[in-house]
């Protein structure tokens, strides 16, 4: 929020108080360190938008404009309708008109809660705007203009029937939207986990002898899940009071995750570092084709190295179905070439 103005406004009123409370500063003698922030510096970094819309920038964007941004920059991870569960959990779905009236999402109640979507949980529309503005798109955060943020926010709300397809979101209409959010009344702060001195939920006692404990085993890992986390023998020392239990054949590097080489020395590490593996696996299609599928298609084609390297940086769609791949400008040309070479050689 724009605090410079506010800080200036309260300056006079604050000075006396500040002087009174800061009499015994531990920084006495050191407070010449640091320097005043300039208004331009504060404006550059102070991008948060609060639930009361303090900090909301001027601007506007329509659902239609939002759809255009969505299709080029958001859809590849979130799906055409914000329904995708492939890369991230779904954004839209799970709410009703009745929820919009009551401000409480009914499908959050009960034992059979489905996958919780963003719009099922969202209680303040500022949160959606603020997050898209600071952190999206995934691989190029803070690259959208304020108008684009308005537009994409409008489109996400449209996907969940909170606004109609001709809606234009701006700093005024966003307030109406707040009053239609399906879960706007869904939060409570009535709990003891906010303050150190807060009240606890449970009241166990420290019984020591012959306690009334229910010692029936009610849950354990099913036999088929024994190796779900790899060979546990490889996750403990081979000396000391215990050994890891052998749950699978050794050798298989448990976990896809155990790095066999220091990061940066393998091309796979590079692909991970630059976010490629969010959408591409080795063999199978996730969002985009597996690396080896790409290698197969381009095998023996002239100029394939240049073509794939260029595609990594520029993005594209159509070659592997309708799901577009966003431009990966975080890689320079040399890095893109290095990755392309690795992919085309079978990603080994």
């Amino acid at each position: 929020m724009s605090s410079w103005d506010r800080a200036t406004a309260i300056k006079l009123g604050l000075s006396a108080l500040a002087l009174a409370t800061i009499a015994a500063s531990p920084l006495a003698g050191a407070s010449n360190l640091g320097r005043p922030a300039t208004p331009a510096e504060i404006a550059a970094w102070d991008i948060d938008v609060r639930p009361d819309f303090a900090g909301l920038p001027a601007g506007s964007g329509s659902v239609e404009q939002g759809m255009e941004v969505w299709e080029s920059k958001c859809e590849s991870c979130h799906g055409t309708f914000g329904e995708s569960n492939e890369v991230f959990t779904p954004l839209a779905g799970g709410t009703t008109r009745a929820d919009q009236d009551s401000g409480r999402v009914k499908s959050l109640v009960g034992p059979n809660v489905p996958q919780r979507t963003t719009l099922m949980k969202l209680s303040t529309v500022s949160t959606l705007f603020d997050y898209i503005r600071r952190a999206m798109p995934w691989n190029a955060p803070k690259s959208l203009s304020d108008d684009e943020v308005y537009a994409v926010t409008a489109y996400v709300l449209y996907l969940n029937d909170v606004v109609s397809d001709d809606f234009v979101l701006d700093q005024d209409s966003i307030r109406e939207v707040q009053n239609r959010l399906p879960n706007r009344n869904g939060m409570t702060r009535d709990h003891g986990l906010w303050e150190v001195a807060g009240k606890a939920d449970t009241h166990n006692t420290a019984c020591m002898k012959n306690c009334a404990a229910d010692v029936e085993i009610s849950s354990s890992l099913p036999e088929y899940a024994r190796d779900s986390h790899g060979n546990l023998a490889d996750q403990n020392r081979s000396f000391g009071p215990v050994r890891g239990t052998t749950t699978a054949a050794s050798a298989a590097p448990a976990a896809t995750t155990a790095p066999t080489q220091p990061a940066g020395t393998s091309r796979l590490a590079m692909a991970e570092e630059y976010g490629c593996t969010g959408c591409h696996a080795m063999d199978d299609t996730i969002v985009g084709p597996g690396f080896r599928q790409v290698a197969q298609r381009y095998a023996d084609k002239a100029g394939s190295l240049d073509q794939v390297a260029a595609k990594i940086r520029a993005g594209g769609s159509g070659a592997w179905g309708s799901m577009p791949m966003p431009a990966q400008e975080q890689l320079n040309e040399e890095q893109a070439r290095e990755l392309a070479e690795w992919i085309l050689s079978g990603a080994n």
Binding site: M1, R35, E41, K121, V196
Partner: protein
């Protein structure tokens, strides 16, 4: 044992080198009960579990009789490994992801291998990771830290400025609010690395936030909250109540004697003792003072605790008193009957650990464990208890009590209030089942 011959003479049948200087001192000061227990236990080890000599080895252990290469060759020179790393025999104990938990490595978590760690300090290279949009290696010369909002003078500090200011060093635990979150409904993962491994403890060094807020002339009357924000792509933001911010929060650059590791926020992170890890904003670039909470993504869409009536608890922050046995624990197998130390960790976001009790029969009977020093506020505390395993099935549990008198709850007690869908803040008593084979597994009771 030089100079201890007098004391050794007073203890009969002590196995060679069994007692440390501290324990010998303890005898002199009258702590004999503990030692008597330990002696009995150690005697059982030498009688039962000691490795017998194999046939054809009558003369003795070949590891003793035939000198190993490291006893007969020249070792490596100093600084051949200028920033040291663990022995090659330690490769099993690494941070690991839980397969299937997340879909994208840059928005994921890796768990610390608690099953193999000692004491209370987590080696920096094994500290758990949770990133929301990948980790960055930020250039400290280009990093800036800003304080703005309801302050007399909004200010910018460089790392030069911050590291010249008076600093404090304090040991605190950090636990992700979602630690043990997979276990609300049923057992889901096999080992303590995955049930409790979003937990670490370090000595952090930095400037108290209260001093910096004072330096900027924060309005402590209207300013009821602060917002902490990161410099990474996600620019993670979390609201912290001013009361907490002024208490023991640190703007930290040091961790376990070195700078923070990049995965832990190099060169600057917020340390918010007792509060869930998401508030310990990494790559910290800004603190804003405000008069209302900020309702950010990670306090509105995530890190909210869903209750059975559909309400979501917002701004749940404190990590309540909790403990877990780290050995023997799930996925481990005991190597034979006889003496074991049941060892584990206890912690509380509300202060010091007062006591830890351990049960080997699923909670019917409890014995009080030894708390190893130091016992610090909002830090991990190591507990140990002697145990003779006779080969019969056992159900191991630990139950921590903090200085407020709060007793760690059972899983059914927690579920009664919070249901099974709340993901966050599961601080229930953990149960490990020991089978006659010695295999230990994760179970839930009741």
């Amino acid at each position: 044992m030089t100079g201890s011959s007098k004391q050794r003479g007073r203890i009969s049948r002590a196995p060679e080198n069994f007692l440390s200087q501290e324990q010998i001192a303890a005898v002199s000061s009258g702590r004999r009960d503990f030692l008597r227990q330990a002696m009995i236990a150690a005697a059982a080890v030498s009688a039962g579990a000691a490795l017998p000599l194999r046939a054809g080895e009558a003369a003795g252990d070949p590891e003793i009789l035939d000198l190993p290469p490291w006893s007969k060759t020249l070792g490596k020179p100093v600084a051949s490994n200028p920033y040291g790393s663990p022995s090659k025999y330690e490769k099993n104990l690494i941070r690991r992801e839980s397969p299937g938990l997340t879909r994208v490595g840059a928005a994921s978590v890796s768990f610390a291998p608690l099953q193999g760690l000692f004491g209370i300090i987590t080696p920096s290279g094994l500290h758990f990771e949770r990133h929301h949009q990948g980790w960055q290696d930020v250039d400290p010369a280009r990093h800036r830290f800003m304080i703005n909002g309801l302050v007399r003078t909004p200010k910018v500090y460089t790392m030069d400025d911050l590291m010249r200011l008076p600093s404090v060093s304090r040991i605190h635990f950090i636990e992700c609010g979602a630690n043990s979150g997979m276990e609300w409904g049923n057992v889901a993962v096999p080992t303590v690395q995955y049930t409790h491994g979003m937990l670490s403890c370090s000595e952090f060094t930095g400037v108290p936030l209260s001093a910096l807020l004072e330096d900027c002339g924060a309005d402590l009357k209207a300013g009821k909250y602060i917002l902490a924000e990161g410099a990474d792509g996600s620019s993670m933001t979390r609201t912290i109540a001013m009361e907490r911010a002024l208490d023991d929060v640190i703007v930290a650059y040091g961790q376990n004697g070195e700078m923070l590791r990049p995965e832990n926020g190099y060169p600057l992170r917020l340390v918010v003792p007792g509060v869930q890890g998401v508030s310990w904003v990494k790559w910290l670039r800004r603190i804003e003072v405000g008069d209302q909470p900020y309702g950010t993504k990670d306090e509105t869409l995530h890190y909210v605790d869903l209750l059975p009536d559909g309400a979501q608890r917002q701004y749940t922050s404190i990590q309540e008193c909790k403990s877990v046995i780290t050995t023997p624990s799930g996925g481990q197998t005991l190597i034979g009957q006889g003496y074991y130390t049941i060892t584990g960790l206890a912690w509380s976001g509300r202060g010091r650990i007062r006591r830890v009790d351990v049960s080997t029969d699923g909670g019917r009977n409890w014995r009080t464990a030894r708390l190893e020093t130091p016992v610090l506020s909002k830090a991990l505390t190591r507990f140990n208890l002697d145990w003779q395993w006779d080969g019969s099935p056992a159900l191991l549990q630990s139950r921590a009590i903090d200085e407020t008198g709060y007793v760690q709850p059972t899983m059914p007690q927690l579920r009664e209030v919070r249901g099974t869908k709340s993901i966050y803040h599961n601080n229930a008593i953990q149960t490990w089942a020991v089978a006659p084979s010695g295999e230990v597994s994760n179970v839930q009771l009741g």
